[in-house]
């Protein structure tokens, strides 16, 4: 990757110590997979509908049976914001994003685009997943702008 042409501040994710998560039986497999650097989504074992965040029942057919499906990690920016500063971190630049996940149709994730000049992010920008350390040894799925190679292999 070439360095940015100007000295624009690249977006990052919150530092590990600032992010705590909690889990329940429905969501824990998502986070356990992330800890192994895998992005997964629950898919209804009866009707095949994906859902995120994970919930105990399929909203379409009310089944509780789930197949945890590994995703490619490809994503597309559905919408985003640019945030300068966070409580206790006045100088941080964040690009919180809502992404569509093309191989889990109908689901979205709220995450961050990292390692990018915020001015270069657009609705529709193609992304690929990465994993960012957070508190208690968990990893958080975040996204980077997909490189040319990633686009070609898509």
């Amino acid at each position: 990757m070439s360095a940015p042409a100007n000295s624009a501040k690249l977006a990052t994710a919150l530092p590990a110590g600032a992010v705590k998560i909690s889990t329940d039986p429905s969501t824990e497999p998502f986070w356990q997979a992330a800890r192994e650097r895998r992005l997964v989504a629950p898919r209804c074992a009866d009707c095949g509908t994906f859902r995120l965040p994970p919930t105990p029942f399929c909203w379409r057919c009310q089944s509780a049976a789930v197949d945890w499906t590994e995703l490619s990690g490809r994503a597309t920016v559905y919408t985003f914001t640019v945030v300068n500063g966070y409580p206790g971190l006045p100088d941080i630049t964040l690009v919180p994003v809502v992404v569509d996940l093309p191989d889990a149709p109908g689901t979205r994730l709220v995450s961050n685009v990292v390692g990018v000049d915020p001015a270069e992010v657009r609705i529709g920008t193609e992304l690929t997943v990465d994993f960012h350390p957070i508190a208690d040894g968990w990893l958080l799925p975040v996204f980077r702008v997909a490189g040319p190679a990633a686009k070609e292999s898509a």
Binding site: T23, P53, T79
Partner: protein
């Protein structure tokens, strides 16, 4: 027809409030002091003794803002209420503010209570502006909080960007909402912000969550507001001109659900919305009127773009046309309402008067229909009051005139 349509079986008989304070200014008072002061003021306004109150209809799960809890038992003890026969709260948050009056109506119509108080009190010990970041993670919030979306405005900036993308809405429209709302506060004695807001100030202000800047955010104020609801018959014997409840509705669809705590809205139109469309449809059907019959609209204004989206959903303009609608001057206060326009937030709203989680909008609706508003719409007979676009329930209320 419209003048007499709807339920009109209960009425708002009294309103009361504390002064409105800036963040931190009520540190020497307790939340019960603020709530009690507002309740006593509302009862005095109605001309009923607080000891006669027999119902409490809360919203936001009877939370007082984001940290404190309003406890019915403490109110009874503190205020000398003899017996409560109804005490309930809508779920969700500020989305239920207008709907709480529907809850009061339900109690009265069912015969469960006769003098019902709705109250909201707010201190910023937990700051509104960073409330998402400050809460302990839950399994659900763990899918939003880590992104750094620190507060409600950050969340709604994501919907706003989609509205701009899909419909070509510009920041000029948000500026118009901020500026026109400020204009309505200039002559209102209790308003927190009484200096004009200029376009230069708006566009020169700090960008908090692009595309939302400082003046797109409501203020972090403190204070309390209470409303007394009784049967219309009882209200006619009390001190004030009754303000009948024409219709009330709350709820929401699966497509909206938790709204911007979720972001899973399946279609673009619902995503770039305030989640209020199903409420609007049910409300107008119950009231037997359309948006064209509304004389004044008190629209929950925590963030300027959400006002624009609600104007679309409540039928003042078509979906996606909120930008041109507000830029035409259609929401500016004018004493005489012209066709195709509607004065919005004539009290200065949460952007410029005070933020008490929607309760001030109910008060202004009452003042307009009593004919005592500071920025009175001449001959106003129907007022729309909406609850905040948030996780469901969202809610709304149409208030009328007794005759």
């Amino acid at each position: 027809m419209a003048k007499d349509s709807g339920a009109r079986d209960v009425a708002i008989a009294g309103i009361g409030a504390t002064p409105y304070y800036k963040r931190g200014e009520t540190a020497g008072q307790s939340i019960n002091q603020l709530a009690g002061e507002a309740i006593l003021a509302a009862c005095a306004d109605a001309g009923v003794s607080v000891t006669e109150v027999d119902g409490l209809a809360f919203y936001s799960l009877a939370r007082a803002g984001y940290g404190d809890q309003l406890e019915a038992g403490e109110f009874v003890e503190m205020l000398g209420i003899r017996e409560l026969t109804f005490t309930a709260a809508l779920t969700g948050g500020g989305g239920g503010s207008a709907g709480a009056i529907g809850l009061a109506r339900a109690a009265i119509v069912a015969g469960d209570a006769s003098v019902v108080v709705t109250v909201m009190a707010l201190q910023q010990r937990t700051r509104l502006g960073s409330v998402v970041a400050s809460k302990a993670a839950t399994p659900a919030s763990s899918f939003v909080q880590p992104s750094g979306l620190a507060g409600p405005g950050h969340l709604m900036s994501l919907l706003t960007r989609r509205h701009m993308y899909q419909y070509g809405t510009t920041r000029d429209a948000f500026a118009e909402i901020a500026i026109s709302t400020r204009n309505n506060a200039l002559n209102r004695p209790q308003a927190r912000y009484r200096e004009p807001l200029t376009r230069e100030q708006y566009f020169g202000s700090r960008m908090i969550a692009d595309p939302l800047c400082l003046y797109d955010f409501c203020m972090e104020s403190e204070g309390a507001v209470a409303i007394v609801t009784t049967s219309l018959e009882r209200a006619r014997d009390l001190r004030q001109r009754p303000v009948p409840v024409v219709a009330a509705a709350h709820g929401g669809t699966r497509e909206w659900g938790r709204g911007f705590s979720w972001f899973g809205m399946p279609d673009d139109e619902t995503f770039a919305s305030s989640g209020n469309k199903p409420i609007a449809d049910r409300l107008y059907q119950r009231a037997g009127i359309t948006a064209q019959d509304i004389d004044v609209a008190l629209i929950y204004d925590h963030f300027t773009p959400m006002v624009l989206m609600q104007l679309e959903e409540y039928g003042f303009c078509k979906k996606g046309e909120g930008g041109p609608f507000v830029l035409s001057g259609a929401i500016r206060y004018a004493a005489e309402r012209k066709p195709g326009t509607v004065p919005v937030n004539t009290h200065g709203g949460q952007l410029s008067e005070a933020y008490v989680i929607g309760a001030t909008h109910i008060m202004e609706g009452v003042e307009q229909l009593r004919g005592t508003a500071v920025n009175q719409v001449a001959g106003a007979e129907l007022a729309l009051v909406t609850g905040g676009p948030a996780a469901l329930p969202t809610s709304a209320l149409i208030l009328g005139c007794d005759r």
